[in-house]
Amino acid sequence: MAYIATYQGKEHRVAIEETEAGNYKVRIGEELIEVDLIKARENIFSLLIENQSYEVDVDGIGRNLFSILIRGDHFDVEVEDEKVKKLAAKLGAGATGRQDIKSPMAGNVWKVMKKEGDRVEAGDVLIILEAMKMENEIKSPIAGIVTGMSAVEATGVGAGDPLCVIEPLEDTAR
């Protein structure tokens, strides 16, 4: 299987073959490496790569998106099936300006600053969440119109819960 793994905008082609249980032949770019992997426990892997030992903490944080923690550094890496990605690129699918704003954390909705139909600029505060004695402002990433607002003041939200939807100006102008 071949994948395209993207970290901070840089794409790496990674081809993987399992030679025996837990042993992988991995080609990343031009480099060929052999990986001996043990699942030490759920989402924690012990990797031996050329006898170098790494403990790697892997969390799925979205579709095809993994948060990797190695020796104090986090890496958010997107991994897509090479074929699927090529097909998607050909179809030009998935590229829309619509922004689904999701809660970055569990907490309470303290204030809802905009309502449906409001026009917002990029950086405008949409919602203020509150958790653990701290307030956190949720800002609009783009200029546009609030076309959906599901956050309700004084109610709880979980991490990843939808809060509101912003349509970019061009789209709504159509």
Binding site: M1, Y3, A5, Y7, H12, V14, I16, E18, Y24, V26, I28, I33, V35, L37, R41, E42, N43, I44, F45, L47, I49, Y54, E55, V56, D57, V58, D59, G60, N64, F66, I68, L69, I70, R71, G72, D73, H74, F75, V77, V79, D81, P104, M105, A106, G107, N108, A131, M132, K133, M134, N136, G156, A159
Partner: protein, 504 residues
């Protein structure tokens, strides 16, 4: 000695006090809010009583409910931990009225030290050095201009009722003065319900160094060394150590004497902490405030002195004399505490409440875990995000840093992001290693250096992510195959079903 103590707190400090009680053979009564039924302090106490809904105002701050549980359980003492009711003189008084021992200092000490103006006045009488500035509050604009001339620029404008860095502003230029005075006043009123402000000299390269004191109810007061607390993020301590890299034996003696004098000014009779601001340039030190409780960072002092401050505080409250004299206090080695917060250090320290689904606590020599969490624990959204503290000891500062680095590398918390990686990076920072920092360090220099750091394991991360995707795809394929053998052949539907099962 007490037979039974009620612990009016939650989280790691409640667990800390329960452990001290257990080691002293004292029974323990935990109280908990409805959000905390599954908290560790409830599980490890002998008894546990629910005192109300999740908001602290309806549970952990409810003096009446807590005193009611104390009466019912016949607890002889109440330990308030830190935060909540720990520095509430009224609560200490109400305990006394009920014939229950408040495990802390006398109410007058709490009250006097709880206000910047009265505390400064009290310690000034004992010749404890104060930051050159005013002993009273500012009356009006003219008053402000007169004092500004006397103190000189840059100067600090502070709210009398403030604390934790709130209501403070630095003024560099005479032209900023009047606007700043007006703004500070209105801010102070809004934040603290009190518009009193005052001015003092701005200390360059300010470091925060505090002295731990112990006083008993027989008039004995000693100090047990200092803690360096300059590593702060947004004026909140995140890492503390003892001894301080800038304090030598002579300075420790002088600061210790000043701290004892400050404590004596209010007849201090418990464990307490006298905070000083120290100029990183001149090493002059000035009294800031006194915290009339057990501090979050008390373990670093325990590890270098061998004194159990929490047990000692309980003994004192029971009327015992201090078990050590000043000359018996010997500092051995160096200790560092890292506060572990449920916050994402790579995303602006956003809170990350949630369930701890995996946990590996570091072990080995010189490592101490002070934790209120456990695997399976749901970190509640209602309280402070500090979930544990990692404390290490080494024979000197260098050993302690290396050990801390090693311990952090073993620490795994799954399910939520924490500040563990942040601490790991602090331990590698050259300024930190050399002991060259002040209270602004983390928010300025470190932030820049940290953002520019190398990430040597990027390739390994990419490979690990790709293998993980590969394993998930293989599992899906396998599950689809297995389903296909015995059921109708719709691989798409099957793979959806499998995913649902796997997610259970």
């Amino acid at each position: 000695m007490f037979k039974k103590i009620l612990i009016a707190n939650r989280g790691e400090i409640a667990v800390r006090v329960i452990r001290a009680c257990r080691e002293l053979g004292i029974g323990t009564v935990a109280v908990y809010s409805e959000a905390d039924r599954s908290a560790l302090h409830v599980r490890v106490a002998d008894e546990a009583w629910c005192i109300g809904p999740p908001p602290a105002g309806e549970s952990y701050l409810r003096m009446d409910k807590i005193l009611e549980v104390a009466r019912k359980t016949e607890a002889e003492g109440i330990h308030p931990g830190y935060g909540f009711l720990a520095e509430n003189a009224e609560f200490a008084e109400r305990c006394a009225q009920e014939g229950i021992t408040f495990i802390g200092p006398n109410p007058r000490a709490i009250r006097l030290m709880g206000n910047k103006t009265t505390s400064r006045a009290a310690v000034a009488e004992m010749d404890v050095p104060l930051v050159p500035g005013m002993k009273e509050n500012l009356i009006d604009e003219e008053h402000a201009q007169k004092w500004a001339e006397e103190i000189g620029f840059p100067l600090m404008l502070k709210a009398a009722a403030g604390g934790g860095g709130k209501g403070m502003r630095k003024i560099d230029d005479p032209r900023e003065l009047l606007n700043a005075f007006r703004a500070a006043r209105s801010e102070a009123l809004k934040s603290f319900g009190d518009d009193a402000v005052y001015m003092e000299r701005y200390i360059e390269n300010p470091r925060h160094v505090e002295i731990q004191v112990l006083g008993d109810r027989h008039g004995n007061i000693i100090h047990v060394g200092e803690r360096e607390c300059s590593i702060q993020r947004r004026h909140q301590k995140v890492l503390e150590e003892s001894p301080s890299p800038i304090v030598d034996e002579e300075m420790r003696r002088r600061m210790g004497e000043a701290a004892i004098a400050a404590a004596r000014s209010v007849d201090y009779d418990s464990a307490g902490t006298v905070e000083f601001i120290v100029s990183g340039k001149t090493r002059d030190f000035f009294f800031l405030e006194m915290n009339t409780r057990l501090q979050v960072e008390h373990p670093v002092t325990e590890m270098v002195t061998g004194i159990d401050l929490c047990q000692e505080m309980i003994r004192i409250a029971a009327g015992e004399r201090l078990s050590i004299e000043q000359k018996d206090v010997v500092i051995r080695g160096h200790a560092i505490e890292c506060r572990v917060y449920a916050e994402d250090p790579d995303n602006n320290f956003l809170p990350t409440p949630g369930r701890i689904v995996g946990l590996r606590i570091p072990g080995g020599p010189g490592v101490r875990d002070e934790s209120g969490m456990y695997e399976g624990f749901e970190v509640p959204i209602h309280y402070d995000p500090m979930i544990s503290k990692l404390v290490v000891w080494g024979k000197d500062r260098e050993s302690a840093i290396q050990r801390c680095r090693r311990a952090l590398s073993e620490y795994i918390v799954k399910g939520i992001k924490t500040t563990i990686p942040f601490h790991a990076r602090v331990m590698l920072n050259e300024h930190f290693i050399r002991g060259e920092f002040d209270t602004t360090f983390i928010d300025t220099e470190f932030r820049v250096e940290d953002a520019a750091r190398e990430k040597p394991f990027e390739k390994i991360a990419v490979v690990a992510a790709a293998i993980n995707a590969f394993r998930i795809d293989q599992q899906k394929a396998k599950a689809a195959m297995a389903g296909g053998e015995t059921r109708a052949m719709n691989p798409w539907k099957m793979s959806g079903r499998t995913r649902a099962l796997n997610n259970q």
